[in-house]
Symmetry: none
Subunit: 412 residues, 2 copies
Amino acid sequence: MKANIISIGNELLIGQVINTNASWLGQTLSDIGWEIGTVICVADDDRDIRDALARGFDTADVVITTGGLGPTKDDITKKAVADYYGREMVFHEETWHRIEKYFTERKYPISELHRQQCYMPAGSVILENALGTAPGLRIEENGKACFVLPGVPYEMKYITETHIVPWLVKSGGVEIFRKKTFHTVGTGESMIADHIEAFSDGLPTNASIAYLPSIGKVRIRLSMMGGTQEEFDGYCRELRDLLDAWYYGEDDTNLEKEVARLMDQLELKLVLAESCTGGNISARLVQQPGASSYYLGGAVTYSYEHKSSVLGVSPDTLLEHGAVSEEVVTEMVQGALQRLGGDVAAAVSGIAGPDGGLPQKPVGTTWIAVGNKDKIIARKIVFNKDRSRNIEFSTIAVLNLIRKFLIAVYLK
Amino acid sequence: MKANIISIGNELLIGQVINTNASWLGQTLSDIGWEIGTVICVADDDRDIRDALARGFDTADVVITTGGLGPTKDDITKKAVADYYGREMVFHEETWHRIEKYFTERKYPISELHRQQCYMPAGSVILENALGTAPGLRIEENGKACFVLPGVPYEMKYITETHIVPWLVKSGGVEIFRKKTFHTVGTGESMIADHIEAFSDGLPTNASIAYLPSIGKVRIRLSMMGGTQEEFDGYCRELRDLLDAWYYGEDDTNLEKEVARLMDQLELKLVLAESCTGGNISARLVQQPGASSYYLGGAVTYSYEHKSSVLGVSPDTLLEHGAVSEEVVTEMVQGALQRLGGDVAAAVSGIAGPDGGLPQKPVGTTWIAVGNKDKIIARKIVFNKDRSRNIEFSTIAVLNLIRKFLIAVYLK
């Protein structure tokens, strides 16, 4: 159960694009118990691609390529794969009809280059790509399989999840691979590692723990090869209890989904008042389909004027305490509830940087608040000096405070 | 002037760490005219590392490894390199003294593992690492050079900039490498490739074109090895003219920066009224430091109620034309200018999906508008079925429409 990855594209070698595809594939395959032997990045070059394929099949039965399926001249992956297998390129009518339809519907001009995109190595199984013009391919020969995928990340992910993962799981055989991911927020990786050290040291050799940290959050993945479901469930319960102070969900969730789930369950409506995050919290919630069931909307009051004119924050409060203060975020929550409606409101105001820091309020100082008509809670948080990280940290902190507020006020 | 990179570490293969080192090295080397032939990621495994070295030296005179120099058991890169060259590991007194001093000064406990870190392949040139305990190495044999670097990004960068870049420049000779990136928006990669085909076919062999597409945008990079600056400037002018319909900037820019630059130059204030993008346009603008100089804020009117209560869109208009209509985005712009102030307003309302589509308005239908008190322009755009892509496409389309509006209305 080992696969090699070939990432194709000059842009990867000159560093204009970071190879996130390979790491996503690495994670996705290891989640289903497959091991990645090597990742090799090569140029859009026929010979380099063929060499990489030959090497790839030396040490694994499955090779996955990404990139080089576009309509331009430098996209030569399919031709190189055909050359490697010694196969002809044949025109795939169905793909052509699909592309034609796609372009006609949108009234886009279609070019000869799109026709070229429809040539595939003979004997390929076409892997449908619902999100773009270039389908993926599967070619099997001598008990080994080559998957050819586009380099555009969401198209690559779509085809992998829809077509490759099920194929790999099926061909991977009988060993059962179990895993569960625990989501935490509010502490760091080393803190958690310390806290669960005895537990992870005590795991049998067929089980393991992986840490997947991101800004403000850490996912902890427990996986086990073989063993019984009871045994695995026991470890999961133990780990869940140990993580209790920071735990917020399992597997395919995130803070946005947890907020949505709680709001829907409680049949409440949410409004937002954002300053330093500039709409990022709102955008995050709206990324989830169905957000309109609980989210009415929000105000991005990026200027002093808007804090007063849109949310009714008193100019005196702004003058006396500054825009980044407990008083102002509290009034932002009150104003949002009054003027935007809704049952629950959240507000944030901070100094994202790199400029605007003061001795008593350094860059990274952020006030957040969540409340309803009866109760408002506010927290001060100090992050670091990087603007985009501060915005991301603030976003996570607000989503988590909404979640905690809903649980504390409505569910306890 | 070609180098190969070997990235070493299990964490890269399972996708726990994204290989940013390789892309940084790719950029750094291509900036000094060196080409990266391949990047190969392998596990912390003696045999895999030796194989990768053998392959690396097959096609290049310089191989750079990163990772596997730490003090823990799985860090075996130096031993594998020594095995590859058939050399002994020898104790390096100077490194040991430096580590001892480093730990003693900080009162950190020093362990036997740190002593192990001081064994180096015989004949290595030690490349000082001012930022960590593991130095880099250079080993030369038969006119070829191997550089061995730690995987910690800032240590790797320090050693590369301090020790490797000067060595490569010196050994690479005098050839000059020139490049320029052209940013376009509003069409696809294949359309551009068609349009500039004669130009790119006519380029000399020492010049080349690369396409870097992302959602809604394509960057085109022109690069040239050697030649004169005049010659390169000529090609740049020609390409710039060919791209005119879609071109919006060069090198280190993006749409957000272009909007900010124009707003600041014209001394205008911007407000936003977002529906389907849910705050994403606002968040994008605020990611850039200094956005407060031109951006007052915005309303995320995700519900019908908010479109009327916050922006004053007439309930009759909503009822008659639906939220996704020219009439509604026009009233959103008018309402934003009236109620949020500012000189220029942009609005967007669309069906992001996956649900909510209608026969005459399928998922992906989006209306966008930009205007000031005298003039409002609106556009209908139809995207595809994926929610997050629709949001991203709409965001790009709105930013581009703001840019075009400012140029057409204020600068022509």
